[in-house]
Structures are given as C-alpha cells and as structure tokens.
C-alpha cells in the first residue's frame, strides 16, 4: 500500500496535514483546537461544550440562521466534539465544496459573533445535556470512570458540571477562547479528495498571522479513588472498570494493544467468551485501550441485572488477572489479524483518516503509515505480549457502578 502524507506549517506554526485517498469523492477535514476539557481553567468544566455551540450561532457577516443555512447548503455532515486535549470541529462533504466550507470555518473559529443572548441558550443546552446523562447510565458510568481514573484534570467530563456551567459567564468564555483558540497549537487535517497546494494557499490566506505564545503545561494531581457507586433504581447495574497501561508513545504500545485484543478484540476473545458465552451474565461486555498523551488505561464496561452483578464483576477481574498467566499462539494470531483488519477497514473512510492523522501528530509528533502500524503489530509475539504483561501487572482498578446494587471489591 503506497502511502503519502501531506504536511505544511504556516508561519504562525499552525500545522496542516493531509492524506490523499484515491477511491473517494468525498473529503473530510478537522480543526483540532487546544481547548479540550483538561485545558480549561479550574471551575469552568463544560465551557468547551458551550463554546463549541456558541461559535456556530453566527459568524463573520452571517447570523446564526444564515450560517447554518450556508453550511447545510454545502451538504456538510457536521461534527464537533470535545476531548481531553482538544476541541475538534470538522465535517465530511462532497470534495467540490471544500473551499467554501473552509471559508465558513475560518469565520466560525476567528470571527464568531458571540452574542450574549445566544450564549445563554448554548449554556442552557449544555446544562440540559448534563441532566440528560442521568437517563443514560451506560454513558454516564464511562464518563465517571475516566474522571476517577485519570490524574485530574485529564479525565474531566467534556459535558461539564452543573454548578460550574451555571456559574460560567460570557466574559470567562471569551477569555477561554482568547487563550485556547491558539492557532500556533492548532492542527488542521484533511483526508480524501483534495488539492493540497490549493488548501495550503487558502489556509494561509485565512489563518496566517503572528505566532502566539501560551499553552502552559497542565499540572496533574493524583486520581480520585478506587470505587464509586451511584445509586439508581434502574434495570441493570452498569459496571465500569479501568486500569493503567502504557501510553501510545511507549515501546510496549503494540504489545498492550494486542493484549487488550486477546481480552476483548472479537467474539472469541476472553471477556466475551467467559462472561457472555459461557455464563450468560451480560449482553454488553467489552474492554478497549484508551490512550491520552499523558496517560493511558484499559477501560471495560459490563451491564448486568442486579443479581448477577457480583459474579460479573468477579469474572471480569479474574479475566484481567489471569491474562498474564498464558496466551496461546492462536489467540495472539486472532488478536493481530483483528487489529490489522480494523485498521485497513477504517482507512477507507475519509473522516476516520482525518481524525487519525491529527491524533498521531499530536501524540507522537508524526503520522504513522498503515504499513508501519501493520509491521509493528506483526512483530508482537506470545512472548513479547506475556513479557509486557509480566512487567506491567494490572495492579489497581478504578471502578464505578451505577445501579440498584453495589459490588464488593476484594
């Protein structure tokens, strides 16, 4: 698979990355602004979600309605999300409309109207989203889990906290935007069908400027605790469990990914087989690798009715603990082919690639080619994965449950 990545850095240090894809007529692009939940000042949890809504409520010479109509007129499939490190704003669309879409996004990022009445609406919606979380315990348990697991503020919920959202003001939000919409630390990505020279010229015209200072490092404080239970009179106990593992930059990263895949890669993996297939304890059960630049973990979810909660929990912990005792050649082979296959399947989607090259650049400082990732996965062996597990024993589990019953943690 011949691969080519495009890269250009504006004078203000904003990085433009591209991955051309031959077989598609679409293009996807994204702006990764350093305004993720962990980069917010204390007491402003959720501000990024409010801002991500507010900036779309009118920009440049367009009011909210005109801006929305212009975006819809281009057939943009819009998406914005707030993660630990970044606020990501982007879209997928038919390739011919890219130029106009970028012009509109320059207005949204650089010249949002920021009307006060629109701020109140954006804030109210953010508050309502937090309240709605109580009606989605499966989602809530995973957000709480990250919050409890990661050293603060890395695991902060992007949705925010009610009290802090209520206290958030226009002035504070504007200050956050001044500090965090820092173009010198912004990564722009594009994947699919595009002309990189034309994109660079356009982006220079739209975003070039003086280099901006800032971007102080985050001060981390230890994570909150081991077990949190939230009482809820629902049908199931939703169990979230997370334990530390190596970061994406670590030499052992691919051993960790293969180990997690043995545990929960496909339907023949350990957790699905032991918890669901053999014992019928759960419908939803699975674990995955979750990596930030500063820390990483393996996160696991299981949902089960109250009477089975303890057995499910014990069974899951047992599977984590016995992983290092032995893994067969067959299991490793399946884990490896699963990881490689999902990599290639995702590589057909312009949106997936646009996200992946940005994340690689931020975490690793460079974009990995598919061949490199495949080679590194291929190099893992039963011995290398077991050695990794021996040297990185699952010690502490952070646990969150939501439901009518607690579990006992031994």
């Amino acid at each position: 698979m011949a691969e080519k990545f495009d890269k250009y850095v504006l004078k203000n240090q904003m990085v433009l990355l591209g991955e051309p894809m031959e077989a598609v007529e679409s293009v996807a692009f994204g702006f990764m602004l350093p305004a993720g939940a962990a980069h917010l000042p204390e007491g402003c949890c959720g501000a990024s979600s409010v801002i991500a809504d507010w900036i779309f409520r009118g920009a440049g010479d367009k009011d909210s309605r005109q801006l929305s109509d212009a975006l819809d007129g281009l057939g943009l499939l819009r998406g914005h999300s707030v993660g630990s490190s970044h606020m990501a704003i982007g879209a997928a669309l038919e390739a011919g409309n890219l130029t106009e879409a970028l012009d509109l996004h320059a207005d949204i990022i650089l010249r949002p109207s920021l009307k006060e009445d629109q701020f109140e609406l954006a804030r109210q919606l953010a508050i309502d989203d937090v309240l709605s979380l109580d009606d989605d315990p499966r989602h809530k348990v995973m957000l709480k889990l990250r919050e409890q697991f990661y050293p603060s503020p890395l695991g902060r919920s992007a949705l925010g906290e009610i009290l802090e959202l209520k206290a958030l003001t226009v002035a504070t939000s504007e200050r956050i935007m001044r500090d965090n919409f820092n173009l010198s630390q912004t990564i722009f990505t594009v994947a699919g069908k595009y002309d990189f020279d034309a994109v660079c010229r356009q982006m220079e015209g739209l975003f070039e400027g003086e280099q901006q200072q800032g971007g102080q490092s985050i001060r981390l404080t230890p994570s909150a605790g081991q077990y949190t239970h939230i009482e809820n009179d629902g049908a199931q106990v939703h169990i979230g469990l997370m334990t530390e593992t190596v970061k994406p930059t670590d030499e052992d990263y691919y051993n960790a990914r293969v180990a997690v895949s043995v545990l929960s890669g496909g339907m023949s993996a350990r957790l699905f087989t032991e918890v669901r297939e053999k014992r019928g304890l759960c419908y939803a059960i699975g674990a995955r690798y979750h990596g930030l630049k500063e820390a990483a973990g393996i996160m696991c979810y299981a949902g089960t009715t109250p009477d089975k909660a303890q057995e499910t929990f014990d069974c899951v912990v047992e599977e984590f603990n016995r992983l290092g005792d032995g893994i067969s050649e067959e299991e490793i082979a399946r884990a490896k082919v699963g990881l490689k296959s999902s990599l290639i399947l995702q590589s057909e989607s312009s949106s997936s690639r646009s996200g992946a090259i940005g994340s690689d650049h931020y975490i690793l400082g460079r974009v990995r080619g598919l061949d490199e990732i495949k080679d590194r996965i291929d190099q893992t062996t039963v011995d290398s994965v077991l050695a990794f597990l021996r040297n990185n024993k699952f010690k502490d589990f952070t646990i969150v449950t939501i439901g009518p019953k607690r579990v006992t943690v031994k």
Binding site: E22, A92, D136, D233, A235, M267, K308, V337, S341
Partner: protein
Amino acid sequence: MEFKNEKLSNGLVLIGEVNKSAKSAAVGFFVKTGSRDEVAAINGVSHYLEHMLFKGTEKLSALEVNEAFDRTGAQFNAFTSEENTVFYAAILPEYLVEVTQLWADLMRPSLRDEDFNIEKNVIKEEIAMYQDLPSFDVMDRCRTLHFHGHPCGNSVLGSAESIDGLTAEQMRDYFAKRYAPNNMVLACAGNFGWDQIRSLAADSCSKWPRQVVERKLGHFDGSKKKDRIEKANLAREHICLMSEGVSAQDPSRFAASLLGTIVGDDVGSRFFWELVDKALAEAASMSYGAMDGTGTFYSYIRCSNENVRKVLGIVRRVFDDIEKNGVTEDELAAAKNKILSTLVIKNELPMGRLIDLGFNWTYLEQYRTIEDDVAAIKGVTVGDVNTLIEQLSPGDFTQFSIGPALSS
C-alpha cells in the same frame, strides 16, 4: 461498478456489486423476517434466533464459530428489526470467500437446547439494558401504541415473559418456516470475485428446501392514541411521536425522507430552530421509516418536565404550519444536499453499500445504483413534498412519553 445477480432453483437470490478499487468487501445474508412475522406466543423469537445462529452448526460449536470469524479479522454482526434479520461482515478481500462460507454454514444452525438455555439469559440482559435507555424504550412503546394490534407493533426484543415462555422447539419451527432460501438474499459489495461467490452458493445453499412463506401486509395509518408512563429514576421527559408514512415500495419514499429532514434533522430543521436552538429541548428529531407495505414518521424529543407543555405546543404549531403552508424551495434544497452527502459518503464504504444493495433487493427486487438514488432525490419537487403532507397529515400522530413523576 458491475452488478451481478442470479437466482438458485430453490429461490435464493444472489446479488453483488463489484468495485475492484475498494480495499475491502462486505457480505450479508438478508432474511425477510422480523417481529411483525411473529404471533404473541413467540414474540421476540426472530431476534433470539438471530443470536442463536452464532451458536453453531452440527459441525461447529459456538466458540469455534467465533474463532473462525476472528481468524479472518472480520467485523461481523447481525441485527433484527420489525421485518428484517441481517447477518453481515466487513472484511479484507482475501477472506471474503471464507467468511461467506461461514455465514452460509450458519444459515443452517443446529439450535441446540443447551445453547438456547444459556442464550436466554443474554436476551433477558439485552431487554434489561434497553429498559435503562428511555430514548429507546419510548420508541418501542410508541410503535406498539401506534400500530395498535397490527403486527408491525410487535416488539423486536419481546418481553422477559415472552422470552421465558419460549421453547427451543418453537424456535426450530419458526426457523424452518422463515429461513427458507426463497425468503433470503445473499449480497456482496466491494472488492470480490463474483464467480467464487456464485459457485460457493451453488455448492452450499442449493439443497436448502423452498417453503411457502407469507407475510401479512396491509397499510396501517396508526392509532393516534396518547399515553404516558412514569419512572421515578428518570430526570427528563422522553417523547416519541409516530404518524403514517409511505411504504418502502412507494416512489414517494424519497420525498418522505426529505420531509423528515426538513422537519427534524439534527441541525437546521424546523424542530431544530424552534426547539433545540432556543434551548427548550436538548434533542428533537424526526425521521421517515420505510417498511414493507407501510411506513412511519417518527420523532424523538427530550426536554425538562417543566417544558413539556410548551414544547408540545410548538410541535403542534410546526406541524400546523407545514400542513397549511408546505415546505419552501430553500429548505428542500438544503435537505437534498444533506441527504445526498450522507448517501454518497456512506456508500464509499463497501459495508455501507451492502446495506442499500440488500434492502433495495429485499423490498423492490431491484438493483439501484447510487446514481439512481441521487437522481431520484434530486428530482423531488416542493410540490411532491407538499402533496405528501396533504396525503399523510404528519401532525396527526400517536404520542408516547416516559418521564419522571409529575410535580403538580
């Protein structure tokens, strides 16, 4: 793109769209069966049976099935709706034949008692999981209320009671009647060799016996009843509205889909500007659901308890306005752009293409290229959408809500 099709003598239809420039391939068995084909005593059997197909054949145990799939790195799964059960896999081209063979083998499952008994627990856990998802629960209950006695109102999952009462024998009987070759389509999309799939199907599927398969069709315009239940642990009001729509076979289905987008797309729709933009509801969407011989429009709205009355008043005004004044050229143009983008981007992946390919054959016995669908969407006029509104009165809906105990 090259379209291929063939029908085996027992009625099994094979279809494929070959795209040699794709990096992957996708394969699926589309079985024309779902909860609407069940009677009350076996409600939930279609979905339960979907799970049981993964439990193996005379020659393969459940674990061996999962291992065989995972050895190929397939992204595989299945889903069951009111009227379809679909088994699919997205896969690298070199494994397509192996995975298709596996699916073909699994279409003749052993349905062992011991597997049936263990899986019953999993099904009941799935039912419990959805009970904790009011956004799903409210749609399911509203569908039942809307179709009031019509089989399209049967729950896909069934209830804990109906699942408890179900026997393996009843399932085997249902299987024999519904998983007949003349009630299934084998579809492939992406980068694959048609001749290999053809000979595989001829070798593995030709002996499956043809059956007389029936489905009760018949359009239903909905009960228009209103109901609400309370759950003490809920924080928000979840509201589902359902009204009459056109069928999957109706040429005006494209206009229906555009109407859904105009009224209730996530952004830029009438619901969005009146409810979400103004922060009266945090979610408000409407979609068109095409079905065999009938159809629905369904809306989901989530808001605070205090805003319910106001929100429903606005919903009433939105429908009144659209019924009185129709839609505008501008909003139709925007809706077209959004639907066309979604269609084109989804179909760039063989897995996305497979679903459209399979359903077009299931409902229409027709091959439609992406260009056919693009042209059909582009061809819809304001007059078409307004005629549909007049014909269907989307404001005349069934309503179901789930929310916390009312404070007043």
